[in-house]
Symmetry: C2
Subunit: 224 residues, 2 copies
């Protein structure tokens, strides 16, 4: 006796993070219709019938940012399916985490929002998006420790100080510039030196680096 198989609406929601002016920002959209009309929410949308989940995430990402499909870093975060998380009915959402370097100003009702106030107020975002954002930010924080992901927040060429400010912004800590420099340049494959330098606004010009081939950091760069 085969029991009837329940079917569910499935969406993809995106936590798209970037660092702007030394503040961690997330892309939000303002909801134009109930429920949560006028409230900020994470961008997302329904998965198409024959669409792979990563394809849906990539599609939403470029729709919302206007960036090409291969821009930045994208990984699956987690899946949220509490009955009642959407007042309209049962919706299961697969959340993805994206990290971008200096993306363009988005079109439509989308905008970059500082994560600080959103994390402090559990009701600032619609649905259970506060929880999803919290999980996304925590994942990003944790991965900076043992992966080279921080460089995904930087443009193709960047200084060690820029990379350090990424860590300081995401972690909310201070790092010793000198020890950080030694650690980063001493980890094989993390960054690759170019022969370009910044035209310094103040102080000695800094060498520019590119992302190296390494994906994981051994030993890790631990938070205090």
């Amino acid at each position: 006796m085969p029991e009837p198989v329940a079917k569910f609406a499935v969406t993809v929601d995106l936590v798209i993070l970037t660092v702007q002016r030394d503040v961690l920002h997330v892309l939000t959209v303002t909801r134009a219709v109930p429920p949560f009309e006028g409230r900020a929410a994470l961008p997302g949308g329904f998965v198409h019938p024959d669409e792979p989940l990563p394809a849906a995430a990539t599609r939403e990402l470029s729709d919302e940012t206007g960036l090409p499909h291969d821009a930045g870093h994208l990984e699956q975060l987690a899946t949220y399916g509490e009955p009642g998380r959407d007042p309209r009915g049962r919706v299961i959402t697969v959340a993805y985490l994206a990290l971008l370097a200096d993306p363009p100003q988005p079109a439509g009702s989308a905008d970059w929002t500082a994560t600080g106030p959103l994390l402090a107020d559990p009701a600032a975002l619609a649905f259970d998006h506060h929880r999803i954002l919290s999980d996304g930010v925590e994942r990003a924080r944790a991965k900076l420790e043992y992966s080279s992901l921080a460089a995904q927040f930087c443009p193709p060429e960047f200084t060690i100080a820029q990379l350090r400010r990424i860590y300081e912004t995401v972690w909310g800590t201070r790092l010793d510039p000198r020890n950080f420099h030694r650690k980063v340049t001493g980890t094989p494959g993390f960054v690759v030196a170019t022969d370009h330098h910044t035209s310094s606004d103040r102080g000695r010009p800094a060498r520019l680096y590119r992302r190296g081939p390494a994906t994981s950091l051994h030993p890790p760069l631990l938070r205090r």
Copy 2:
């Protein structure tokens, strides 16, 4: 113009790991019907209409093992939804990872299978379960480094040597018993000493410990 919302069958699949006789095992079921009839698969089942995802995972876990709902460790692993991963149609599965200490022999067609051969042969398991198992084992391996999860593979009271063999089994490495002992007993909250001892089969009797309150390890216990 609201586009029609596609609906999907959603299942929960389980990677249930345990260590038996110094070998990492996973719970598998033998499929009784096509597709993949007679092939081993991870246990799982459809999510009920108003059932939270963790509830579905817990339900499947106790159905398959006969264990109470609060036994062992259970966490969400990842979600797999490739069109075509199930030949019968589009099915999205939310995979969970469970870690158990000396569970009972399961009933029905379920059985404990050594992970080694399953990981070596991508076609040993039905569907995309090879990928799911690989991800689950890799998650467990990684989490042993920076969490106290290894103790979840141990009975309520265990020796440091038992705990060490968990690490050696899951990682496939050798660890120095003396350095491991210092590290584990020196990490606050990882293990708590009891005043019980083993009745030694050979050698000096070992003190028995319980799981401590700590959940994360700082600094981590890194693989070589």
